[in-house]
């Protein structure tokens, strides 16, 4: 893409965001919505900046991030290893496949009360919920990627003297990497969403809790701040994952 084309498309892309903010501002300015219900955007963003500077708000972000990363990391480790194992061994496949069929469409958030009862109201239950939700997209795309590895890549490695178990790490895993990273991208967005929701349902800290506290006292501004924060966090994490992706997949076509 030429730089001119690119800048045009960036302009185009910014347009709707600017439009949304303009609409928002005009709703307030022309008195369609009272500022108590819909605070003007300038106010919301200055409040956001102000909050980002405070120690307490930073701690809320940290609590959310810890849960998010812990849950996501567990999901990646479990998802990739189960996915690869299911692709490599027919025995494991026969067990995993029906279980996944049952558990994947199950609304994991319904398990949250059970997790609260079993693991308590602390980090444990929230991390488990995040992991449970992020697990399946990662597992499924790993499985898909690993079970469609070009047979001749495996044969080439075997002929060069690679033992069978090493094939998994030296061929199947790297060859499935594009697919695995796609799954991770989906899993990451899910993690952002789920951690926030779990904190909204029951928590004493974290961004979701900030939103609920604001809602109880009808502080509309403070309800927007955590939502915008989680959206920004999601964007930043997505960009970081994109960078990891283009590094890891530098050899692959269409990466």
């Amino acid at each position: 893409m030429t730089s001119q084309l690119r800048s045009t498309s960036i302009m185009l892309g910014l347009a709707p965001i600017v439009l949304v903010i303009a609409l928002w501002q005009s709703l307030v300015s022309f008195g369609f919505a009272p500022a108590v219900l819909l605070p003007p955007p300038g106010y919301v963003f200055s409040r956001l900046l102000q909050q980002l500077m405070t120690w307490t708000f930073q701690q809320e972000i940290a609590a959310t991030l810890i849960r998010l990363f812990a849950g996501f990391a567990i999901a990646v480790v479990l998802g990739v290893s189960i996915g690869i194992a299911a692709a490599a061994s027919p025995g494991i496949n026969a067990v995993v496949r029906p279980i996944v069929r049952v558990l994947a469409p199950l609304p994991k958030v319904a398990l949250y009360p059970a997790l609260l009862l079993l693991l308590g109201f602390g980090h444990g239950s929230k991390i488990t919920l995040v992991a449970a939700d992020a697990l399946f997209p990662i597992l499924l795309s790993t499985y898909y990627g690993a079970s469609t590895v070009e047979q001749k890549l495996i044969w080439s490695a075997m002929a060069a003297g690679t033992p069978r178990y090493e094939i998994l790490f030296k061929v199947v895993l790297p060859a499935a990497m594009p697919s695995i990273l796609t799954g991770c991208r989906i899993g990451l967005v899910i993690s952002c969403i789920v951690v926030f929701l779990a904190e909204m349902i029951t928590s004493t800290d974290g961004l979701g809790h900030v939103l609920v506290t604001a809602a109880r006292t009808f502080q509309a501004v403070d309800m927007f701040v955590p939502l915008i924060t989680i959206s920004l966090l999601g964007l930043i994490l997505n960009v970081l994952l994109g960078a990891v992706r283009s590094y890891l997949l530098r050899g692959f076509p269409e990466a």
Partner: protein, 261 residues
């Protein structure tokens, strides 16, 4: 494939359910935790919930909102996604906005929308609508983007207008991908529904869950989990049937379902 093997394949999810329930049963017997009833106790509590008229009406009302939110979302999102897939300008216009919205939990908008529109059906349906739209837009977009240019050229050569090409060529070609999006959207509708009910605590399945939790009726909590889980699994299975019928010509991509939250 031989007949018994095919049968075993179809029955495998049933065995998986039974196996999971058995694991649960054993775990609760071993843990001996008051707040962790056995699977059998939980299953026994199911008829009580479904027999109770009020909770049944509540659950059915939730499902109606879910169906409405899902239906409207699909109707809006598919055309938008297809347009984005075929026009660079449209894609450039909407993509950043969608990227900003993507990581925002839709059910978390509940308190704000409640502030504006009250706690009525509209709020709940709107939240479900928002939750379903994004994956459907995304998959329709990907599906339309992947349509082969040459197919469209031959369509144009046959004298189809751009609109006709979108409906007659792009839509069917992208259908497998669109349906994958709808399948994700369906599970998501259920999830959004329950989560928003957990947050708003007014009525519905999510509310029953947390009320029971607060009142220490642990059997009911776990029974409700089974009910909600069964709804998810059944909806997905039904949709999968429909999908398989609609796109028989396409290669099966994932024979395992994908779910978002």
């Amino acid at each position: 494939m031989t007949a018994p093997a095919a049968l075993a394949r179809r029955a495998a999810p049933v065995f998986a359910c039974i196996g999971l329930l058995a694991v649960w049963q054993v775990a609760s017997l071993v843990l001996k935790n008051d707040s962790f009833p056995t699977a059998i106790e939980a299953i026994r509590a199911i008829p009580d919930i479904l027999g109770d008229k009020e909770s049944l009406i509540n659950i059915l009302a939730s499902l109606r909102r879910m169906a409405l939110g899902f239906g409207v979302a699909v109707l809006v999102s598919i055309p938008l996604g297809l347009l984005m897939g075929r026009s660079r300008a449209v894609a450039a216009f909407f993509n950043p906005l969608l990227m900003v919205i993507y990581p925002v939990p839709k059910a978390a908008l509940m308190p704000i929308i409640m502030l504006w529109l009250g706690v009525g059906d509209i709020t709940k349906t709107l939240v479900i609508f928002l939750g379903v739209s994004l994956p459907v837009i995304y998959h329709s977009f990907e599906g339309a983007k992947a349509v082969e240019e040459k197919m469209l050229w031959s369509g144009a050569a046959m004298g189809l207008s751009p609109g006709q090409r979108l409906v007659r060529i792009v839509l069917p070609a992208a259908l497998p991908e669109i349906l994958t999006g709808c399948r994700t959207g369906l599970v998501l509708a259920l999830i959004t529904m329950i989560t928003s009910e957990m947050i708003a605590r007014q009525s519905g399945a999510g509310n029953i869950l947390f009320n029971a939790l607060d009142m220490g009726q642990y059997d009911t909590v776990f029974a409700m989990i089974i009910i909600v889980g069964a709804m998810g699994i059944c909806l997905d299975a039904i949709f999968e049937r429909v999908r398989a019928r609609l796109v028989r010509w396409s290669e099966p991509q994932f024979d395992m379902p994908l779910s978002f939250s």
